[in-house]
Symmetry: C2
Amino acid sequence: MTYCVAIALDEGLVFASDSRTNAGADQVSTYSKMHTFEVEGERVFVMLAAGNLATTQAVLNQLKRDMDDSAEESLNSVQYMSEAAAYLGRLNREEQEKHTDALSRAGFTPEASFILGGQIDDGTPEIFMIYPQGNYITTSPHTPFLQIGESKYGKPVLDRIIRPDTSLGDATRCALVSIDSTMHSNVTVGPPIEVLIYEKDSLTFNHYLCLEADDDYLLTLKRAWDENIKKAFRDLPRFEWESVNTRKRRGTQVSAKKKTAKKKR
Amino acid sequence: MTYCVAIALDEGLVFASDSRTNAGADQVSTYSKMHTFEVEGERVFVMLAAGNLATTQAVLNQLKRDMDDSAEESLNSVQYMSEAAAYLGRLNREEQEKHTDALSRAGFTPEASFILGGQIDDGTPEIFMIYPQGNYITTSPHTPFLQIGESKYGKPVLDRIIRPDTSLGDATRCALVSIDSTMHSNVTVGPPIEVLIYEKDSLTFNHYLCLEADDDYLLTLKRAWDENIKKAFRDLPRFEWESVNTRKRRGTQVSAKKKTAKKKR
């Protein structure tokens, strides 16, 4: 499994991904799912990948070959981020078509999803999610982030914190907390966690972190988040029926609609 | 969709469920998914239901009929909570078998899942999750809660807070926060939220809450949780690369492994 998230902010873009791949529970490997393409001062792209590893590797190779061969369409030739997303969607669909029959006979799927983000010249920095079928969506002010892979466990904290005017630092911390919650609940999502921060109009990658499970910052962040969440929880208002004496009372007591359940309510 | 959670604690049991059902996005209704059976002073059962509504209603009716008819096997006759789970599993499987062929031809499934919890005489209060196939699992000290339906969004907060020695009040608040996070991320999970608290050895239901979307306690709790989470987040340690001057610094700055990404890392 995989979990990748990308966030589009007024200040720039944040990308984060785990590094665990598995084919069954007994075949677990570590692969980076974050790939960068940069023509410094001109254009930058970050690609995050989820799904069939053979498909994502083949698509990555084709992206590189098209750049090296100065193909008619490549990450060097596209003029808009949406054009780059359409191009990646085409490569994704074409690569899957090569193997769909053989794989489906064996009960597998070649499907893969991607997030592609970046900036071309003085265009707006954008992120796109590319579906296995090759179509793609981008963000909106109300939905400034995109996720692929095991996305549900880590979504509530993003929903709560991320807004377009969130700072790059806050968004990076939120992405790490989101991935940490996911790793906690799904063992097929695992470290190292890679994070890439792109400041708008810099046209180069500003900060890259690769955090192993025992990374000092990651450990400090996890411990702080765990403590802070528990404190946040302790400070919630209590129910009327909770005895004030049986435990230290930290929150405010408020009234709740309450009835005693009788036989088959 | 549905989200139900039950928690087994040293002090007793907590049950919580949403009330939204849907057959497609344009056919949304409100149904309670929490059903109680009580022979006061003798035995109490709580059943939470997820999945095909026709199946869950038919199973519920059969449970009631078996009690009323003093059937050979019923919630009145079983001697152990695990026996009650096996009985419910049988009813669930039998009910589904009646409709599997017709439904699968139409592209539907009769599958349903249940959580059954309670206490019989001086037995231990227990909770069980019953799968569509009729088999069932219970909790352990390391996994003191069970979920059915849309379970992923609300799991991280349960993982973080719930331990066997958590108080009934804390566990109830945690269940509400878990359901609130799920409602935020999935519109097919919706109010009213029902909560039932069972104190060990009381053999009657101690507290029942039915919280509508505009319930005072629920609104206060949601607001407090949102504020507390945001504060928990603001207090996290910052990255080295974040400018101390550009924003008020609230957390501790710690060192992070950092490298600048160069052309195709």
